[in-house]
Symmetry: C2
Subunit: 254 residues, 2 copies
């Protein structure tokens, strides 16, 4: 038996092997980006079955240390298992909860070329995007956000529609076109509110505000919606709670 074994409490061979490999990786025996020895080779070296080797590699994969590629090999992706924070809720605050308690009123709608957008848009600069300018109100009528929504013109679910909306647009796009949101890139910054938005929000131009830029990315890596939202200070707080998890929920501890 090649892997260390403590008589008083026997560890499974696959865990012992996983630990041995992860230690070797941490010590630099295999550089990040390179391939581990093949499964057959690991069988020979450690005198275990392919089942045991595969089980070990699965554990390492769950820890985020390796990625397996059929036909190619097992690549080292990290020297030590990355610790990750997991968002402890089902969605970004204003994708769901927030939308439920407010109304979005579209006040302008037009087609624009990417290059003409006030907000930088990705990809082909002569591509067409549907721009919606909107104001979000509390049910009580107070304006809390000024928003520009750019929709890839191929998914023009709301062409020309002006008025109140209560369903997130990316959700409509998902339903209508079968596009799946895989990723949301988000950037938050402080800004002085520009004149157009200031009027709509009933605040002084140049007063403090929060800007949240979001790119909605589909499973085939395309940005299909871009939103820029402006919130006056004191009318909006963005809260999230993050939990610390290591690897992908799997560690070597038994």
């Amino acid at each position: 038996m090649s892997a260390d074994q403590d008589n008083s409490q026997r560890r499974p061979r696959y865990l012992a092997l996983a630990e041995e490999i992860s230690r070797a990786v941490a010590e630099g025996a295999y550089a990040v980006g390179t391939l581990l020895p093949s499964e057959a080779e690991l069988c020979d070296r450690h005198r275990v079955s392919r089942h045991t080797v595969r089980e070990s590699l699965r554990v390492l994969q769950e820890m985020g240390l390796v990625a397996r590629h059929q036909g190619l090999g097992t690549r080292i992706t990290a020297a030590t298992a990355p610790a990750r924070y997991v968002l402890a809720m089902d969605a970004i605050p204003d994708l769901w909860e927030y939308v439920k308690n407010t109304e979005l009123k579209v006040v302008r709608s037009k087609l624009v070329k990417a290059r003409d957008a006030l907000t930088p848009l990705p990809g082909d600069q002569i591509a067409s995007w549907r721009l919606l300018e909107a104001v979000r109100y509390m049910k009580s009528g107070e304006p809390i956000a000024w928003k520009q929504v750019y929709i890839d013109a191929r998914y023009d679910v709301v062409s020309g529609a002006i008025g109140k909306r209560t369903v997130p647009i990316y959700s409509l796009i998902e339903q209508r076109y079968g596009v799946k949101t895989q990723k949301v890139r988000q950037e938050i910054s402080a800004i002085a509110i520009p004149p157009d938005a200031a009027r709509a929000l009933a605040v002084k131009r140049g007063s403090s505000g929060l800007a949240i830029l979001r790119h909605y990315v589909s499973t085939d890596e395309r940005v299909f919606e871009v939103t820029m939202s402006l919130y006056p200070a004191n009318r909006f707080r963005y809260s999230v709670e993050l939990n610390l998890e290591r690897g992908n929920g799997r560690s070597l501890a038994s």
Copy 2:
């Protein structure tokens, strides 16, 4: 072959079985809290090997639908797989990457009662907290953040220490006292920068800024550190990328 198979693109049997079981669970064929049929029984019913059944159950486990108990059985833990966003990086931007490229200079340090803190503190209002006032600089010397750090006085790792720091304080607390960070609650808002901070940041008082309030929570649910950071507009953008994952990182999509 008992599980549906599409000729044009053959799905692995174990995935088809996993989907069949998850659909049955969602439809109420098995109540949450009860046991699934045993592995042997599932083999018989679906005419597949035990390996295939075990592989299916592992997928369901990864989705958070079932929990396996050696000697007992496989229990249904949820009717549908919880959907979660996972922060696609190792840490909140300024817990790691950001800290590496900047320096925090503590300019004031004193003990305060919770009730006297400028930032609201949780729990007992007569409890003592170590307050550090600090400025964060780029290596180039430009001030980018004004910060108040409140530390539960029981974990006074930096009592009175004024000067430059490059290691996150919560990390020092973890090392010194064995406290484990389990959760970080975070709130982002826009503010007009107050006078004290404006001076330290070399911006006009009242100009736009970003405020990030964080509560660091230990594994025993205690808040042991609270930080309030102020960033002038245009000097700081808070970027995150969120991936949609279902269950524990595993879905049925291939």
